[in-house]
Each structure stands twice: as C-alpha cells, then as structure tokens.
Amino acid sequence: MPAVSLIDASRIITESCVQSGAEVFVGYPITPTNLVYSYSFERFPVALPAPDEITTLQWMSGFSSVGKFPVTATSFPGYALMLESINMAFMMELPMLIILSQRLGPSTGSATTGAQGDLLLLRSSISGGFPIPVFCPSSFEDAWFLTHKAIETSFKLRCPVVLLTSKEMVMTNKSFDTGELVPLKKLYWTAPDEMEKYQSYYTNGKMVPDFIPLGNNQHQVRINASTHDYTGLIRKTTPAAMQNTKRLYEKVIQQAKDFTFYEFQDSDKHDILLVSYDITAEAVRESFNLLHAKQKNVSYLIVKTLIPVANEISEIVSSFQKVFIIEENLTGLLAELYFGNNIPKNIFRINKIGEMINPQEIVEEILN
C-alpha cells in the first residue's frame, strides 16, 4: 500500500485552486470554511483578509478586472452579503471562484452542523434568473478535478462560478494518496489577436468577449456593472444593450454541456434511480452496494454540475420509473429545482436536517 496522508477536502480544493492558476485569495473567516481560509493563506501567492464579505467580492472583482483570478470561501451568511457584488461580477463578466460551504440554517443556524440548504439560493442568485454555474464535489477526487473544471469554466465563460460544498464534505479527514490525483494544467488568460480597436464587450460573433486587463498599455478597457452594450458604456434598453444582456444568459446555457459532470451508475433495468449530490452522495454510494447485496436492482446519479440543469441530467432522471432524490434539507431543493412545486408522482424525496442521511435510511425507504 502506498504512503497515504490523513487529509481533508479543504486542503485538496485549495491546492487545486492554486495549481489551476488562481492567484489571489480574499476572504472573511466563517465556519465551516475556516480550513479553506487558513490553507489559502499558506498557499496562495497573494492572500488578503477582507473586513467583510461585500469588500471581499469587491476586491476580488478588482483583481479579476486586471487579469488575476481570485477565489473566496464562505457560507450562507457571507454569501448573502456578497450577493449584490456577485451580480456585479456577473454583469461585468469577471471570472472568479466562490466556494460556498453549506451549514444548517435558517439565518446563522448551527454553524458547525452540515446541511444542503443553499441550492435554490444559488439558482436565484442573479437578478433576472440568469444562471451562475454551480459545481459540487462529492469525493476527494471531485474536490481536485471539479475545482479545476470550475476555474476553467469561469475563465471560458468570463463568469463567476460557485463550488458548492458542505461542512462534512470539507472538514472530514480521510486517508488518501494524493499521488493518485491527476496533474492539473495551469489556466491563464491568452492575449487576443492584435486588433486596432478593442471594445470590452464586443464578441465578434462568439458568445464570450475577449479579455484584456484593465490598466493595460495598449487598449482602453471599459468594464461595467450597469446595462451596457459592446462598448462597456452605460446604455438603457437599446437593442445592442439588450442583446448584450441576453448573451449573458445564452453563453452559460449554450455551453452547459461542456461543463456538465455527473456520476451515473446504471443498472440496465430502469426501475429505481437514486439522485443526490455533495455529502449525501457518500450515503447513496453505500446504499447502492447494500441494496445490490439484497438483490435489489437500483441505479444512482450523483450530480456534480448542479446549475445550469443540462438536458442530459433531465433525460437520465426521466428515463426511470421511480426516482428518489436524497438531500440533507427539509423540503427537497434539488427536487424543486428539477420539478418545481408540482413534483410528479414517481418522484420521491428523502430528506433530513440536523444530521447526515445514512445509507440504512435510504435502503429502508427503497425497500418499503
């Protein structure tokens, strides 16, 4: 057996950020992301303690506008404060990574108790219903690979992205061989082809405009959080400005397939599908084994790109006769994301708050 380390996913996520090319961490400490915060100060080339979460997002946006990829880590109370500034970064088309670690709410709730309660908040984070890509690791391997993919997507889409985790996901220690992790490619901005005139939001028929950093010596850059057209100047509702605003939606949706990740364990017979994400995926994988040991044929789907909801995910879910959506919250947020308030009769929810859903509970629900 190779030499292994006792480590947590916070360490893996932080290392993955830096190896993927993130240069700056800005943060305000909050449970349960304290580990990411402290590791970031040990690892990032630049790490800054902001006095609050609004400041955090503003500083990050400043760094991002000059071409330095920023990362922060928070939980619901901090995310709530960041919200207006996340909208700003979305509108400005500034890439950045926000690691959101879920804990039990509402409000400050129980900071040291895990939960999966923030999904619909993320779905509605951007005013107007624009999707912000949300990635969600469910294992140490995911913590490594998906963090990289989140940053890659953020660069490609010029868009803030969220890495959604939860307390047990980022704080539990496991024996793990870090040598098994695939090497990552450092990501960075590539300068666009020489041009006579640069206009910050001119896309030249593409979905995402070229990026040139604010403060460069060649071209004037105009970045704007208000409604603007390709020039980067404030416009009200001119056709060009509306076209630019619609593009912010389309660039995410049209490319969703490229950054949709999931783990689908298909058992051929499309009877029963277990669906989950984040920490609850652990229990789903184990209950799958337990059910198969009892000759009960089930499949499972662990969703790793939660937002936007790609067609592939909907197709898998709709191909099963019975679907159990398993989440550590009271009402089933993933179920609501997929089906709204009108949950079809073949969709069942397994929910719990205050502690992790355990594999035995899932097995009992399936067998009953």
């Binding site: 006792l6 400041t55 991002s64 040291t112 004037q220 704007n224 652990e282 229990a283 994988r285 355990n358």
Partner: protein
C-alpha cells in the same frame, strides 16, 4: 483625460467643476490616459465614464472605493493611477471601504463629490449632509452631525486627506492627491442645482472646513510570494503493520473541548493507516472550541470507506461529563463502552469497561489513556502501531506518558 467639453450634468452641477479640475490636474501631471483607471460609483458622479478616454470600471453604489482597492492591489504598479469617484451617498454606505483603504494606505485616490444629497433618487439627505442644510429640510436630523470624512480618513492612516469647498479652481489639491504615494482622499463639497444647494455662496455657509491632513507612511502592497504545495505539509504514513479486520470498525470519542479529543481521533486514524487500513475522522463540537463537548468519530476499514458517518459504533470512549451528555440517546446500539469512573453511567452496552483515566492521566490525557487501555485489552490493532504513531508527534511526551499509565 476628458474627451469632450460637453459634460452630461445639469447646468450648475458641482460635478462638472470637479471633472474639469480633475482633468486639469491630470494634464499638469502629464499622465497618459492608459495609466489612469477611473473606478466610478452609482449616482450622477458615475456619468464620468462616458466622458473620459482612460480605462473605466463602473460598479455598485458605494463600492467604488473597495473595487478600486482590488484594482490597485491587483495592478501593484506605481505608474498606474487608480482614481475612485463617488458621491456622498456612496461614501456613507461604503464608509468601511474608505477606512480600509486608509488604514492599509493603498496606493489610490478617492474623490468624494459631496453635494449633500442623493441626487438620483430625488434629493434625500446623506451621512455627509451638513446640519444647517438638514435643518431646513429634515428638522428631526438637524442635530445629527455629518461624518467628517477628512478626519476619519486621516485618523485611519491615509497619506493625504483633504476637503475643498468646490466653488471654482482646486486642481492643485487634486494634483497633490494624485501625486501622493498611498491613499489620498479629497472630499469636494459642491452644488446639486435641482435638489441640493443652488448658489455658490451658500456652500461657504454650512460649516465644511477646507483642510488638508497628511500622514507619512509606506503604502500597502500585495506582494506575490510563491509557497510550497499543501500536500508537502502533511505527513505521509507508511503501512508497517499487517492486520485483518473482518468488517469496518467504528469508534466514537466523547469528551470535553480542550482535552485533546480531536488530536486523539487524529492519532487513532493514523494508527489504522500504519496498519494498512483506510480511515476517516470526523469532528463535532459547539461553536466555542474551548468549552463544552468535543466528539471525534473514527472509522477503520480494509475496504474504501464510502460513508463517513457512524450510526452503530463498535466502541465509544467517554472521558468527561460533557461527552457523556452528548452520548445519551445518540446511538440505539453500542458494542462496547469505555467510560471514566467519575461518570455515573446509564448507557447500555454488552460490554462496559470502567477505568480511572482522568485520575491517572488528567483531563487532557484521559482519552489517550483509555485508548491504550482498550488496545491492550482488545488488541484490534497492535499497541505498537499506536506507540509508533505517537512517537512521530511534535509534542509527544505527555501523550506517551498517558498511554503507558495502564
């Protein structure tokens, strides 16, 4: 810097004069357009974007100073001039950002255009509105003083803090602010003809003092420091002992915060790893890490551990009343309980072992003492694996003592 003389403000607006003074100051300093980054705020002051030929970034209400801090630290380049512009409303909602820029002495300039009102929303008063101005409009507020931005900025550590009553020519003050290495803040009190003051002469009658305050300080830089991989900072554990576990073994340590429960859980996980097993370790504690309970959950397994929670522990070690209180009703079944003799136990288990762990090893050593007692009795893994694990620790003496007491 200005690309037009046709500025988009109402006739008589103080912003127009401010833009012209800023333009003159930049011309005097002969700064190239692309060396200037204007960071603008929401409000009429944000209209500056469209009339300048430098870089512009237009953000949120009250946040231009914070955004400018990010830009300035990101550029970290003395040849670039980051100039944030906001109104008195923005300065009020974003006061924290001004203080932060000042205490760090970030290399940037903040210009606050104080026209005493929120112009865009219909002329409401702000935190910078003078008492005499408020007395006529909102008498209930007349005794509430305005924030003295200059004194706040200065006392927070800004290199340069100034106020001008913006009647006409004040480009020298802006020039000096821009030339300052570090944080410079200039508050310009001016007119807003539709909602605020309409006459120049009224500006001088409100008690705003023209003043310049300076601090001699170095500016804050965001230096880039390359650091080693986080994976190099964790110890790698070689498997040295061969053992066979029939099924996963699940252990819960229940004690008090500050009594080494999480360290003991760490040692137990690493002991298993020395025996070639997979291990997980989970901690649970209240928000106050120095008081109350502390629980460690450890799983050992030959196979990969998919789920790291524990519903039926094989062993629960309880070494304090805090830990005992948390165990009551927590598990329907426990294979074995080891409990300190100071605790009167009502928990049920086929096997209960009582020991004088606290008396022998004190609160801090009790859990490790109990773990050693259990390993010697049950021999699930060799005690030598535990000893080997402890021997690699930085502060091993106390723990080594605790595990040799029984």
């Amino acid at each position: 810097m200005l690309n037009t003389q046709s500025l988009p403000y109402c006739p008589g607006c103080g912003h127009r004069i401010a833009n012209q003074n800023l333009d003159k100051a930049i011309l005097q300093r002969q700064i190239k357009s692309l060396d200037i980054i204007v960071v603008s705020d929401i409000g009429c002051c944000g209209l500056i974007d469209g009339v300048v030929d430098c870089h512009t970034i237009h953000g949120l209400h009250g946040r231009s100073c914070a955004l400018a801090i990010g830009v300035a630290l990101g550029l970290n380049d003395e040849t670039k001039h980051v100039i944030a512009i906001q109104g008195d409303g923005g300065a009020t909602i974003g006061l924290q950002h001004l203080l932060e820029a000042a205490r760090r002495n970030v290399n940037m300039t903040l210009i606050v255009l104080n026209n005493l009102v929120y112009g865009m929303t219909g002329g409401q008063i702000s935190g910078l509105s003078a008492e005499r101005f408020k007395a006529e409009r909102v008498p209930e507020e007349k005794d509430v003083p305005f924030f003295d931005l200059v004194k706040l900025s200065y006392s927070a550590g800004a290199a340069f803090s100034a106020r001008v009553v913006g009647k006409g020519k004040y480009e020298e003050v802006i020039n000096e602010a821009i030339a300052t290495k570090g944080f410079s803040m200039v508050e310009i009190v001016g007119l807003c003809t539709p909602y605020g003051l309409t006459k120049m002469k009224e500006l001088g009658e409100l008690g705003y003092e023209e003043i310049i305050l300076k601090n001699e300080r170095n500016c804050f830089e965001s230096k880039r420091i390359e650091k080693v991989s986080l994976f190099e900072k964790v110890s790698k554990i070689e498997s040295q002992f061969q053992i066979h576990l029939e099924k996963p073994y699940k252990i819960v340590l229940a004690g008090s915060a500050g009594e080494g429960i999480q360290s003991a859980a760490d040692i137990l996980a690493k002991t298993a790893m020395r025996c070639g097993l997979n291990a997980t370790k989970k901690g649970e504690y209240p928000i106050t890490v120095g008081t109350g309970f502390s629980i460690g959950e450890i799983i050992w397994s030959e196979n990969p551990i998919l789920y790291s929670g524990i519903e039926k522990p094989d062993l629960v070690i309880i070494t304090s009343q805090d830990g005992y209180a948390m165990m009551k009703g927590r598990y329907p079944e426990i294979e074995c309980i080891m409990i300190d003799s100071s605790i009167s136990n009502e928990l049920v288990s086929p096997k209960i072992i009582t020991g004088d762990y606290r008396r022998l090893a004190g609160g801090k050593g009790a859990t490790m003492c109990a773990i050693a007692d259990w390993l010697r009795k049950e021999k699930i893994v060799p005690i030598d694996a535990l000893i080997k694990c402890v021997s690699t620790l930085k502060y091993k003496e106390e723990i080594m003592k605790a595990i040799t007491l029984v």
